[in-house]
Symmetry: C2
Subunit: 393 residues, 2 copies
């Protein structure tokens, strides 16, 4: 895939086990508009803290990413290591340090193996001529079972552009935690302030609408770079093609987010949970997330059990406004609960059939207002416990 003015590279730096790419570089030949969303965790990894400073001015030119080590809970040394990594990349590329972002994912609490990273950066920069975004997608994987790459083509002001994104998901490298990373590149020209607005909104409907286990990592990062190489007049809210750009960007983000859930640790089901008729969108999301994160609901999904009572209870404790006697619940198009009580008839049998599918929808209608939200989750299986408990044994 060609995204004009971007170059990619990935190498084996021996941070992970032999035979796996683990150091990657995304480079824009010219300074690009940048927007980013970071973990809300108050314990933030060093690369997150550094990138938060550097994306504030709305421009950057390169992102270096390593997997195998999260550089989290590593104190002042971790900050030094993150800075040095970006400095080495900046020197190789001949650009200012401040134009380079860094992301890390993997083991927590262990210093970065800087000798390996130092050694890896030269071939990484040299490899830019021949690398691909797909290689970068593979280099950022941890326990992901497949690389995650999505793209769309659009046009604005008579110029064709591409939006391409990669992500890694809720995998863990023992003894550590899940980290979600996503990097989006586009050759469209986009006005930086507007890019920030539409990117944050898209993240809310995609990466912030998925959950595998409800744990927010120290390293979660989503970055978009727009370098303008397509030559369109910079996109803003009022520009021709702006709505189209937002739609295509949202599609890329949502597709990547769904891939993360599908690749969730031990996942055997992909479940879309919609809450509608809520007092507000925020209430709807609160209720949907409570359902999506309930261990009882998720084990019932794994057990293929049409256990609507657990869903009902999760909505009840979510904090969202709910009047049980008005609430409806559907599995796909089967009405399971009406006015807060079991719908009866063949609902149990039909609901159980739906839960045997690999994918299904849960819809809760609160009948209180116009608020709605959709989130995506997986089930909670033996393999989830196995992956997260038994990795070292």
């Amino acid at each position: 895939m060609n995204i004009k003015g971007f170059q990619f590279s990935a190498v084996e730096a021996a941070i992970k086990k032999p035979g796996r790419l683990d150091l990657a570089l995304i480079f824009s030949e010219t300074p690009a508009a940048v927007a980013a969303v970071y973990t809300t965790n108050k314990v933030k990894a060093a690369p997150v803290l550094l990138d938060m400073e550097r994306t504030r001015n709305g421009s950057c030119q390169a992102i270096v990413v390593n997997s195998g080590n999260a550089n989290a809970c590593t104190g002042p040394r971790g900050m030094d290591d993150a800075r040095e990594t970006t400095r080495l990349v900046a020197e190789g590329l001949g650009i200012p340090d401040e134009a380079v972002l860094v992301s890390s994912t993997g083991v927590i609490g262990v210093p970065l193996p800087m000798e390996r990273i130092r050694t890896g950066i030269r071939p990484l920069v040299d490899g830019l001529s021949g690398g691909t975004l797909d290689e970068v997608a593979r280099a950022i994987m941890t326990t992901d079972t497949f690389p995650k790459l999505e793209s769309r083509k659009g046009s604005a002001g008579g110029k064709e552009y591409t939006i391409a994104g990669i992500a890694k998901g809720a995998g863990m490298i023992m003894p550590n935690m899940a980290t979600m990373l996503a990097f989006i590149v586009t050759d469209a020209a986009v006005e930086p302030a507007w890019l920030r607005t539409v990117f944050a909104a898209g993240i809310e409907r995609s990466f912030n609408a998925i959950t595998v286990d409800g744990d927010t990592s120290t390293n979660d990062t989503a970055v978009i770079m727009a370098n303008g190489a397509a030559g369109n007049p910079p996109l803003t809210g009022s520009a021709d093609g702006a709505a189209d750009f937002v739609r295509l960007l949202d599609e890329v983000l949502l597709a990547l987010a769904k891939l993360i859930v599908r690749d969730g640790e031990g996942a055997t089901k992909f479940v879309e949970i919609t809450v509608r008729g809520a007092r507000s969108d925020a209430d709807a999301k609160r209720a949907a997330m409570a359902v999506a994160n309930s261990c009882l609901v998720k084990t019932a999904f794994f057990g293929q059990d049409a256990n609507w009572g657990r869903i009902f209870a999760a909505v009840g404790y979510s904090g969202a406004d709910v009047e049980p006697e008005r609430t409806e619940l559907f599995f796909d198009d089967v009405l399971m609960v009406k006015n807060g009580v079991f719908a009866g008839g063949d609902a149990e049998a039909r609901g159980t059939e739906i839960l045997k599918q690999k994918e299904f929808k849960v819809v809760v209608d609160l009948h209180l207002g116009g608020g709605a939200a959709t989130v995506y989750t997986s089930d909670l299986s033996y393999d989830y416990v196995k992956i997260n408990a038994d990795y070292r044994t």
Copy 2:
């Protein structure tokens, strides 16, 4: 055990499988001061809604409890059934309907089998002469593997009294949800308003400080009845022996709460999590609960993996104030993390040894203030998934 002026009874009403007690009665020969704490779930079962009305005036005389059916999400019919159950008991005992409370635990969304309950109430009332609190403790079990009963003796104003309590725990009957029920009886005389205060405070430190899976049931109920048969001057904040009563009550509540965690579904570990040095007690509890409910932390406990990074991350997303570079973390007395980074040395090896124990403590010191809280939790095991996914297969 004899708690003056209280009688107990339990029978098989065929709500559960044959051979198991499932209908129980606690009766005070005279009206007793009553205080209660109910689920915060907005989806409340019929018996909870009825009891909330009836405990408001601070007095009651009997509690009828069934297991095997939660009478939750059962609509208007559920309320009628709850009322009829209390009316039949009241008639049998010759007391007003309003003096009878009712609790239910078990299957959700299925109407109570009222014919069986109607048939059971006569022998239930007749059995009061020969029953015991231990039988009641057994009759309220669902997937609990042992009955939970605790008692303490004290004295006030020269009169001996007993506080005895029973509880059932985070077990589920498929296709349904966990419910926590606790009933405390004492023959001490206690002023109703003060009883309410000290009971609510005790619950906060006990039943509200435990978690197995973070799901709040529709039926959670804790009730205390104090009938004054011991003959002491009624206890209030300023009375002789008040502090002692609070201490003994707290001991009973905490002991019962810990039994529930020990009997948690699939639990192989009992973990005490303390957060101290927080900006406030509320912040400390928020952080401790986030750790206790984290699937990643709980699977690491199951895997006996000294994965302090997951604990650190859970504190970080809890919403509590935290400055990572000041935070310390201990497993029992082993310092794992100092100033936000791994303590090094033999901490990893020693921490792993501690996690091999059946019971251990996790202490997080935020070094920000004087707030502290302790909560109790279990691990997340294959058996948790099995119990909650595979019950019907």
